[in-house]
Every structure is written in structure tokens, then in C-alpha cells.
């Protein structure tokens, strides 16, 4: 009887000791902040140059962060088919694998909300960027796409006070981003009534599709003064104008290297002027640092805005020199940049 009591006593001491040590380790871990935490990137698509640059920037910045001991792990996962169901399953896997934060470029703004909620409930920090999610528990690093449309008209108003006919190249029909940029362009045209949109085609943000669509509609259009775009379509438009032997209008570019190279060629040959605006694919690294800050216990507002990467006549050469052949003009963000974006949102 006594022996058993002793045994129970010993076991109890052992259990308490183990619990205490474990608890201390946990406590220490939480004290460490983001170091020792695991971050995953859930990405829905990799099939274009922008996404490739995005993944490359992620790789570059996070590898260094892991080597410096800022976080324990930062792995990128990409779904193969750009499907909501596939990405939802991927997020569930990431929950099971015990990641502390998921940085998310989502296939849909609302269809992933269920999976995102599950992750939040499991105590995981979810930071969505570029393709953001509406689930309130997630953080959002959004792009002001409407503004991206509007700045094009602001620029045109400056360059062409007398106005003229515009051709609008839109993105992929039915996608939120396309609607937003279009709204911005519409608002700009309303503001500067000297401009008139005489044609509108969908270029799907793809050079070949844009070229095809523009070549089709061009014969029926009057003289076009400028082309407003959404990125990835400017060079295709230029090719279509050239093939139809029409005078090259002012085409707004979207930071792709082929677009910048073409612009440079025209600039050298004839003093061609335009501007280029898009989001740097390195925004994935901004999202990484934001996630790191949240894990570090900093207070971060749920909604933040990504700065545009704008290229003008003056910084064309330097931007082009820094852009990989066939890639997209890019910047990688630092911890300080992320802190600035967080502060701006407060």
C-alpha cells in the first residue's frame, strides 16, 4: 500500500517536472518572437513571368531571413491548377503541418474564406496579398487597383491636354482586378472629359492575347491617341499597331522587361514618351515581413496598401538595367519597408 503511494508520488513529480520544463520551453519560444516560427507561402499560380519573379523574390529574401535566424522556415507552395478547391486543400495541409503563419496569394477573394477561418481558429496568422481574401480574421496587403487605372489618365491629362481617342485593353473578364482597374480608368475618363474610349478589348494580361484582340479591333477604329492598359499587354498592343502600319500611340506600359525595352528603343529613336506602372512581384516579400512582424507580437492593422512601382521617362534606363531579360521590374522589400507600410496604415 505504502509502496504504491510512493510510486504515485514519484510519477506525479516526474509529470510535474516534465510539464514545467515543457512549459518553460514554450514560454521561451514565445519570448523569442518570430525566431523559431515557421511561415508558409500559399500561391495559386506560377504560369507567368510576374509570378515567377514573385516566387524568386520570396526565395531570395526568405532564405536570407532563415539563415539570419529571423524565422525558422519559410517555404513556398504553389498549386498546379489555379483552382480554389486545390488551394483550400493546400491551406488545410499547411494547418496540419503546424505552420505558424500562412502568407497567401489567393485564387479567389471569398471562396477560400472557410479554409482561412480554419487556419485562424488553429491560431495561425494568415496574411493575404495581391490576391487578397475577405475573411475578417486575415490580414490584407491590398493593391489599390482603381488608383492604378486613374493614374494613367492623370498622366495622359498632363501629356495631352487636348485629349483624344483611347483604346482600353482590359484584363481577364470576370476577375476582380480587371473590374477595379477598369473602374479607375472610367473615373479618370469622367474627370478628364477631353478623352474618349473608342474601343475596349480583353487582353487577359497576356501579350499574345492582347496583340490578337487589338489587331482585330484596330481596322474599325479612328485614330487612337493613347492606349490604357493593365500590364502584360503593352508590347502586344505595340506589335499590333506596327503590323497594321498605324502610327504608334502613347501606350501605357506595365513594367515588363519587353515593354520597357521597346519603350527604350522608341525613346532613343524618336523621343517616345510614356509611363509604366504595376505592382512589383516582390510584394510577396513585403507580405513575408508583415507576417514576421505579426508573429513578433507587433500590432499590425488588418488592412494595408501596397505602394505602386512606377517608371517614368527619367528612371527608365536605370529600371531597365535592373530588370532581368524577359522578367518584370521588381523591388524586394525590407523589414523597414514593411514597418513603413504598417505605420502608414495605422
Amino acid at each position: 500500500m505504502q509502496g504504491r503511494g510512493k510510486l504515485i508520488g514519484i510519477i506525479a513529480v516526474i509529470v510535474i517536472a516534465v510539464a514545467a520544463v515543457f512549459g518553460y520551453l514554450q514560454f521561451q519560444k514565445s519570448q523569442e518572437g518570430a525566431a523559431g516560427k515557421k511561415i508558409a507561402l500559399s500561391n495559386n499560380y506560377a504560369g507567368n513571368s510576374w509570378r515567377q519573379s514573385m516566387l524568386k523574390s520570396w526565395d531570395k529574401v526568405t532564405k536570407k531571413a532563415v539563415a539570419d535566424g529571423v524565422v525558422a522556415e519559410a517555404t513556398a507552395f504553389t498549386t498546379s491548377e489555379n483552382q480554389v478547391t486545390e488551394q483550400a486543400a493546400q491551406i488545410q495541409n499547411l494547418i496540419l503541418q503546424g505552420y505558424d503563419a500562412i502568407v497567401l496569394n489567393a485564387a479567389s477573394p471569398d471562396a477560400l474564406n472557410g479554409a482561412v477561418k480554419e487556419a485562424c481558429d488553429a491560431g495561425i496568422v494568415v496574411v493575404s496579398f495581391d490576391g487578397i481574401v475577405t475573411e475578417p480574421c486575415a490580414w490584407r496587403i491590398a493593391v489599390d487597383f482603381a488608383k492604378m487605372g486613374e493614374v494613367q489618365l492623370d498622366y495622359l491629362n498632363e501629356k495631352m491636354p487636348n485629349g483624344g481617342n483611347l483604346l482600353e485593353i482590359r484584363g481577364l473578364a470576370g476577375v476582380f482586378v480587371d473590374d477595379e482597374i477598369h473602374k479607375g480608368i472610367e473615373a479618370g475618363v469622367k474627370k478628364y472629359s477631353q478623352f474618349k474610349v473608342v474601343g475596349s478589348v480583353h487582353g487577359d494580361w497576356t501579350q499574345t492575347v492582347a496583340q490578337k484582340a487589338v489587331a482585330g479591333v484596330l481596322p474599325s477604329l479612328p485614330e487612337v491617341a493613347a492606349v490604357v492598359t493593365q500590364g502584360g499587354d503593352g508590347y502586344g498592343a505595340a506589335q499590333a499597331f506596327k503590323a497594321a502600319s498605324r502610327p504608334t500611340p502613347l501606350i501605357i506600359m506595365g513594367n515588363r522587361q519587353d515593354e520597357l525595352a521597346w519603350w527604350k528603343e522608341q525613346k532613343d529613336a524618336s523621343g517616345y514618351e510614356t509611363m509604366s506602372v504595376s505592382i512589383a512581384p516582390g510584394v510577396s516579400t513585403l507580405a513575408f515581413w508583415v507576417a514576421q512582424q505579426i508573429l513578433d507580437g507587433k500590432e499590425v492593422p488588418k488592412d494595408m496598401i501596397v505602394p505602386f512601382l512606377r517608371i517614368d521617362q527619367a528612371n527608365l534606363e536605370s529600371s531597365l538595367a535592373n530588370t532581368e531579360q524577359g522578367g518584370v521590374a521588381n523591388v524586394e522589400y525590407t523589414l523597414e519597408d514593411a514597418q513603413k507600410v504598417i505605420a502608414a496604415a495605422k
Binding site: R51, Q52, K56, E81, G199, G216, V217, A244, D258
Partner: protein, 316 residues
Amino acid sequence: MNALAARLGNKPWLLSFAGAFAVWLATILFTEGKGGGEMITAALSFATFTVIVGIGQMFVITTGPGNVDLSIPSTIALAGGVAMKIMGGQDSLIWFGLLACIGAGLAVGAFNYALIRLLKIPPIIATLSSSLIVMSVAISYGRGLQIKPPPSFADFTTAQISGVPVLSICAILFAIAMAIILERTIYGRATLAIGQNVRVAHLAGVKVERARCITYLMSAAFAGLCGALLAGFSGGNALNMGEEYLLATIAVVVIGGTSVAGGRANVPGIWGAALFLYLLVTMLNTYGASAGIRLVLTGLIIIAMITLAGGDKPSR
């Protein structure tokens, strides 16, 4: 009316050309005759690519129900990348680039056929899964970077002789050659026979597997060639440049009067259908229809065309 239907029944390709003409007419009526010629030039140059891959798809579909090549878009992406990388912007390497893109296509075709034959995977699944693998290869091969074509190659792919693209002339000759292969060679007749009834064809001494192998190799090789030409035409390769050709190839095959059930093929119809599809989008763009209406109308018109072209005669 009956006579018209009978004539269309005999020559289903007439319908797609008639459709293309009607759509063109409707467009230039709207623009009051402006730009009609340029529109045809543009239609010819873009239809060329659809025709090249469409003919490959036609042979595949002709081999019977369930046969379709879904790996075309990623083959275009891979071969475009391979060709541009090998040409490296140098005129002297154009021929190597062209051989390489066809070689890349043949490799994909052989892989597809191996999946279908050795692992007995249904063609839809086999080509779909191989398309994922091929796309991954394309991504890691080119890392999404765009390479410019050599100047002479770009000039060749965009050259025109009094408004007619040179590439389109080549594609018309190519289509004629393929029509002869379909109608006059043992391989062509075998493909048609397999599509009508595999068992009967086999019993009649048709080398079924050889014909199917050639078919998948051809489809992928054409996709590879198209990838290089497309990259030359649009000033560089891109990973997503083949995306639109998945549905487009199936649509032109069916609208062109080829039976989805197999066993009945039509080469000229592919030209008509490719022109029709391009001019249809041009017409809706010219009318300024919104994206929603444009998509709904495109869908409805394609359904109408298919019903007119092939709905009357179920496969015998």
C-alpha cells in the same frame, strides 16, 4: 432549303466559311466598309496558328470517342521556350531552333502515347496529366523569362505579300498536304477507320496502334512548331501563350465539320472555323459589346454553328 441542307451535309466546311463571311460582312456594315481588308489580314495571320494546332487535334479527335489532346497549351509554351532559347536571337541558329521545337513536341507526343499505351490511361487523363508535367518542365527550363526571336525569324513570321501573311500561305499549303494525307494515304484512311470502329478496323488488318502513335506524335509536333512560330510572331515566348489554344483547337475541329465521335474529319473546315472564331470576336469587339454579352454570344453562336454543322448526322 432541303437542297441547301443536303449540300451543307456533303460539304460541312462550307458552313464555317459562310459563317466567317457573314460575321465579316456584319462587322464592315457596322464600320461602313472601313477596315474590311485589314480585318481579313489580321484574321488570316491569327487563324494560321489555330489551324496548325487544330489540324493535329483533328487527327486525334478523329481516332474516336475519348481521344483528345489536352497537352497542346503546355507543349506550345515549352516548345516556344526551347526554340527561342536555342535560336538565342541569332539568325544562323533558326533552323536548329525549328528542329528543336518539333523535337520537343515529338518528345511530348511520345510521352503521351506511352502513357496511353503502356499504362493504359484514357487519353483525356493521360494528356491532361502530361500537360502539367510539361508545363512544369517549361517553367523550370525557361523560368518564365521571355527571349526575343532572331530578327529574320520575326520578319518571316510577320511578313505579308500585298496583305496576305506569308505564314498563312504556308499554312494553307500545309492544310492541303494534310488533307491529302487524310484522304489518300494508308495512315489517313486507317485513322478514319479506327474512329469509325476500332474492332472492325483491327480485324480488317489496320495497324491500329501504329496509326494512334503517329497521331499523337503529330499533334504534339504541330503544337511544338506552332509554339516557335507564335513566339516569333509576337516578339518572344511566354509561359501562358498557349493557354487559349486548348478550347480553340477543339472548337475549330468541331465547327469545321469533324465529328466529335470520330471517324469523320474535315481539313478545310478548320480554316473556315478558325477565321470564323477570330472574326466573331472582332465583330463583338467592334460593336463594343460588354465582356458578359460577348462571352454569352460567342457561346451561343458556337452552339448554333455546331448544331448546324454536325448535329444532323449521328455517327453511323
